[in-house]
C-alpha cells in the first residue's frame, strides 16, 4: 500500500538521496541499484535522507554498509538524516552499532555540512 521511492539529486561528486517507505528485502535492491549508479557515476560524498522511511531491516542496513565500504576507499563517508520522531529506526541503527559508524543528523543541512562540505577543506 505504501510506496517505496528512491530519489537522488547529484551535483558532481555530491549526492543527496531521499528514500521513502519501508526498506526490506523486497525494496532494498532498488536502493542498492541507485547507490551503485551514483558511485559508478563518480559520486563519493553522500547524504541519505531517511526521514520518510518507516521501517528498515538488516538488508537495508547492509546496503548502507556496502556503500560506505566503497566510499571509504576514497576516504569518504555517508551521512544519514533521521528525524527525532523516528525512534524505532534510530533504535535499529543503535542496537546494530551503526550509530558509531554513520554520522546521523537531524536535518539535511547539518548532514550536508558534515558530509558534503568537507570538500572545501
Amino acid at each position: 500500500m505504501r510506496e517505496f521511492t528512491v530519489e537522488a539529486q547529484a551535483l558532481g561528486p555530491h549526492a543527496i538521496v531521499v528514500v521513502t517507505g519501508e526498506i526490506d528485502a523486497y525494496t532494498a535492491p532498488a536502493l542498492r541499484e541507485k547507490f551503485l549508479e551514483l558511485v559508478d557515476g563518480g559520486v563519493d560524498r553522500l547524504v541519505v535522507d531517511l526521514r520518510r522511511v518507516t521501517f528498515i531491516e538488516s538488508v537495508g542496513l547492509g546496503t548502507l554498509i556496502a556503500v560506505r565500504k566503497r566510499l571509504r576507499r576514497f576516504d569518504r563517508n555517508l551521512c544519514i538524516v533521521l528525524d527525532a520522531g523516528q525512534r524505532s529506526i534510530y533504535r535499529t541503527f543503535e542496537i546494530t552499532g551503526l550509530t558509531n559508524i554513520f554520522p546521523i543528523h537531524p536535518t539535511v543541512e547539518a548532514a550536508v555540512e558534515d558530509c558534503l562540505d568537507e570538500s572545501a577543506a
Binding site: 500500500m1 505504501r2 519501508e22 526490506d24 528485502a25 523486497y26 518507516t54 521501517f55 531491516e57 538488516s58 538488508v59 542496513l61 547492509g62 546496503t63 525512534r87 524505532s88 533504535r91 535499529t92 542496537i95 546494530t96
Partner: protein
C-alpha cells in the same frame, strides 16, 4: 407526293406527341432524340437518321447523293443539335423530305428544349437535396460534438462524417501537439489512403487560432468536387477543431483540479497501534467534477486520533482550494487541543469571515484508541456510521448542527460514544450515499449493510466506493473507515514465499500486537525480528515443498511468542551474508530458537511483553 403529304400530316401528329412528351418530361433527353431520329427516318425514307449535338454543315460533301440535315434550334436561335439523314438506298430524297425534316427539326427542337430544361432542373434539385443532407449531417455532427466526448471519439466522428458527405474513399485527420493522433476513415476496409497530396484539405485550428492539425480527403475524382464539398470539409474541420480545443481545455482544467485535490489530501494515514484505518477519495463521473470533498486523520500529541471528513460545496479548482484551507485550519485547531465541537465552531467563524458563498459540511471526531472513547460533532454532515460486532450498524446522529457558513453562531453539540474492540467507524461524504438514482435513505441503508458485511477497512472503503460508482454517482466521494482492533487469541498468516509478502506480515502483526495492548517500542522490535525471520524463510529454503511461509503470533500471559515457518530445507550451513546480520539482529531483539527438520524450518521468537 400524296404519300408524303399524308406523311406530313402524320408527322405533325408525331411531332405534337413528341412535344407533349418533352413538356410532360416523361421522356428523357436521349429518349426524345431517339424518337426524333426514328420518325425522321420513317417519314423521309432515309437509309439512316441520327441527331448529333451542335450544328453540322447544311449539306454533306463527298460523292454520292446528298445528305439531308436540319438544325434543331433553341428558344434563342442557337443550334442545339442537328438532324442528319442519309439518302435512301436507291437514289436521292424526294423533294418534300426537306420540308418534313425541317418540320421535324422545328417540333423536335421544342421537345429537346423541354427535356433538357427538365433534366437540368432535376440535376439542380438533386444537388439541392445533396446540400440539404450535407447541411443536416453538419448540424447533427455539431450536436454530437457538443456533448463531452473523448478527443479520439470526436475526431473519428468528424473524419467519417466528412468522408461520407463528400463521398471520398478515405478521410484522414491528424492532430499534433500534446495528444498527437491520426484517425483514418475508409469507405472499405482495405489499405490506406494513397501517398501524395489530398484532393481536399482543411486545417484544424483551435479557438485561439493555434494549429492543431488537418482534415484531408483522398481519392475522389476532382471532377466530382465542387465548392460545396470544400465548404463542408472546412465547416467540419472548424467544428472538430473548436470541440477539440474546448475538450483539451476542459481536460487540462480537470487535471489541474484533480491534481490540486489529491495534493490537498493526506499523503498517508497515521500508523497507530490498536486501529486499522483506510480512506479513499473518488472524483465524480466526469473528471472535471472534482469537488471539495476531503478526509483527514492525524495523531494528536496525547496519542488520540483526530478524524475528519468534509465537503465544500462547489466544483473544480475553487472548491478544491477552499477545501485545502478548511482542512489545514481544522488540523491546527485539533493540534491546539480543541475538541471536535469547539474546532467546528472556530471553523464556522472562519468560513463566515471568508465572506464569499463558501459553504461546507464537516464531521470531526476524536478517538482514543486504547479505550475506544469517541467524541464527535457534525456541521450539517451525513451521520457517522458505527458497526459493532454482534450489535449491527448504527448512525451517530446525536450531534448534528447546521453546515459551516449557514449561521453566524449556531449551537454546537458534542456526541459521545465508547466504541468496543472490533467495531468500525465510517465517516463519508454524501456522494457515497446519495445520487440522482438513489435516495438518501436507501443510500444510508445500503451503506450500513455493506459496512456490516466487511471487516478490513481497506477492503471496506474500496467496496463502498465501488457501490457508489456502480450507481453512476455524479458527485465526488470521500470515505474514511477506522476499526478498533480486538486482541485476538492468536495471529496466523500464510503467504506466498516472496519478499513482497513480508510487508503484509509486518502490517498484520503490528495490528495484532497493537490490539493486544503491546506498547509501541516492543511492537516495533518484535515486528523487526519477525520481518528478519520471515525474509530468511523466503530466502533460505532450497527444494521447498510449498512455496509459502507461515507466521503465527500470540500474547500469552507476560510473553510474546512469534513462530515463523517455511516448508523447505535450508542450505547448510546457513550462508554468511546480510541475512546473517539479520539473525544477529533477531538475537538482539528476542530469544531465538531455530528448529530445522526435513519438512521445513521453524524459528521461534520470544520475549516479555515489555
Amino acid at each position: 407526293m400524296n404519300e408524303l403529304a399524308e406523311g406530313s400530316a402524320a408527322l405533325t401528329r408525331v411531332a405534337a406527341a413528341l412535344l407533349d412528351a418533352g413538356l410532360l418530361a416523361r421522356v428523357d433527353l436521349d429518349g426524345v432524340l431517339a424518337v426524333i431520329a426514328d420518325v425522321a427516318r420513317e417519314q423521309t425514307r432515309a437509309q439512316a437518321a441520327r441527331v448529333v449535338p451542335g450544328a453540322l454543315p447544311e449539306a454533306g460533301d463527298g460523292p454520292g447523293p446528298t445528305r439531308l440535315t436540319a438544325i434543331l434550334r433553341g428558344p434563342d436561335g442557337e443550334a442545339m443539335a442537328t438532324l442528319v439523314l442519309d439518302p435512301p438506298t436507291e437514289g436521292a430524297f424526294e423533294a418534300p423530305a426537306v420540308e418534313v425534316a425541317e418540320a421535324l427539326a422545328h417540333y423536335g427542337a421544342a421537345a429537346v428544349h423541354r427535356a433538357r430544361t427538365f433534366a437540368e432542373a432535376e440535376a439542380a434539385a438533386s444537388r439541392e437535396r445533396g446540400h440539404a443532407s450535407a447541411m443536416r449531417a453538419l448540424a447533427e455532427t455539431a450536436v454530437r460534438l457538443n456533448a463531452p466526448l473523448p478527443i479520439d471519439a470526436m475526431l473519428a466522428d468528424v473524419t467519417e462524417t466528412a468522408r461520407r458527405i463528400v463521398g471520398a474513399r478515405w478521410a484522414v485527420s491528424t492532430l499534433s501537439g500534446d495528444v498527437a493522433m491520426r484517425v483514418v476513415a475508409a469507405a472499405d476496409g482495405d489499405g490506406g489512403p494513397p501517398a501524395g497530396a489530398p484532393h481536399l484539405a482543411a486545417p484544424l485550428r483551435g479557438p485561439d487560432g493555434a494549429d492543431l492539425g488537418a482534415l484531408e480527403l483522398f481519392d475522389k475524382r476532382s471532377a466530382d468536387l465542387d465548392e460545396t464539398d470544400q465548404a463542408i470539409v472546412v465547416q467540419l474541420a472548424q467544428l472538430a477543431a473548436s470541440a477539440i480545443g474546448k475538450e483539451r481545455l476542459l481536460e487540462a482544467q480537470a487535471r489541474l483540479a484533480a491534481t490540486l485535490q489529491r495534493s490537498l489530501l493526506p499523503e498517508r494515514l497515521p500508523d497507530v497501534a490498536g486501529v486499522e484505518m483506510a480512506a479513499r477519495y473518488a472524483s465524480g463521473v466526469a473528471e472535471v467534477d472534482v469537488g471539495g470533498d476531503w478526509y483527514d486523520a492525524l495523531t494528536l500529541p496525547d496519542g488520540d486520533l483526530f478524524l475528519v471528513v468534509g465537503d465544500v460545496v462547489g466544483k473544480g479548482v475553487e472548491a478544491a482550494a477552499a477545501m485545502g484551507q478548511l482542512r489545514h485550519c481544522l488540523r491546527t485547531y485539533a493540534f491546539e487541543g480543541l475538541e471536535p465541537a469547539a474546532a467546528l465552531e472556530r471553523l464556522n467563524v472562519l468560513v463566515n469571515t471568508l465572506g464569499g458563498s463558501e459553504f461546507a459540511t464537516v464531521v470531526a471526531a476524536r478517538l482514543t484508541p486504547p479505550t475506544g472513547q469517541l467524541r464527535y460533532a457534525s456541521a450539517g454532515h451525513p451521520p457517522p456510521l458505527v458497526v459493532t460486532p454482534g450489535a449491527g450498524a448504527e448512525f451517530l446522529d446525536g450531534a448534528q448542527s447546521v453546515p459551516l457558513g449557514a449561521l453566524p453562531r449556531p449551537a454546537w453539540g458534542e456526541g459521545r460514544r465508547v466504541l468496543s474492540p472490533g467495531s468500525t467507524l465510517v465517516l463519508y461524504t454524501d456522494g457515497l450515499v446519495e445520487s440522482r438514482s438513489l435516495s438518501l435513505d436507501v443510500g444510508l441503508e445500503r451503506l450500513a449493510a455493506a459496512a456490516q458485511g466487511c471487516g478490513d477497512p481497506a477492503i471496506l472503503v474500496d467496496h463502498l466506493l465501488e457501490l457508489a460508482t456502480s450507481g453512476h454517482q455524479a458527485d465526488d466521494s470521500a470515505v474514511l473507515a477506522i476499526r478498533l482492533t480486538a486482541c485476538a487469541e492468536q495471529f496466523r498468516i500464510r503467504l506466498p514465499a516472496e519478499f513482497a509478502s513480508v510487508a503484509a506480515v509486518r502490517r498484520r502483526l503490528r495490528t495484532f500486537l497493537g490490539a493486544c495492548g503491546i506498547d509501541g517500542q516492543t511492537t516495533d522490535e518484535v515486528t523487526l525480528a519477525c520481518s528478519e525471520a520471515a525474509a530468511n524463510a523466503v530466502e533460505h529454503p532450497v527444494a521447498p515443498r510449498h512455496h509459502s511461509i507461515e507466521v503465527e503470533a500470540s500474547v500469552e500471559g507476560e510473553g510474546i511468542r512469534v513462530v515463523v515457518r517455511d516448508f523447505g530445507q535450508w542450505r547448510s550451513p546457513p550462508p554468511v551474508s546480510e541475512r546473517g546480520r539479520g539473525l544477529a539482529l533477531m538475537r538482539m531483539l528476542m530469544d531465538v530458537e531455530v528448529a530445522s527438520r526435513a519438512s521445513g524450518t521453524e524459528v521461534l521468537l520470544r520475549r516479555p511483553r515489555a
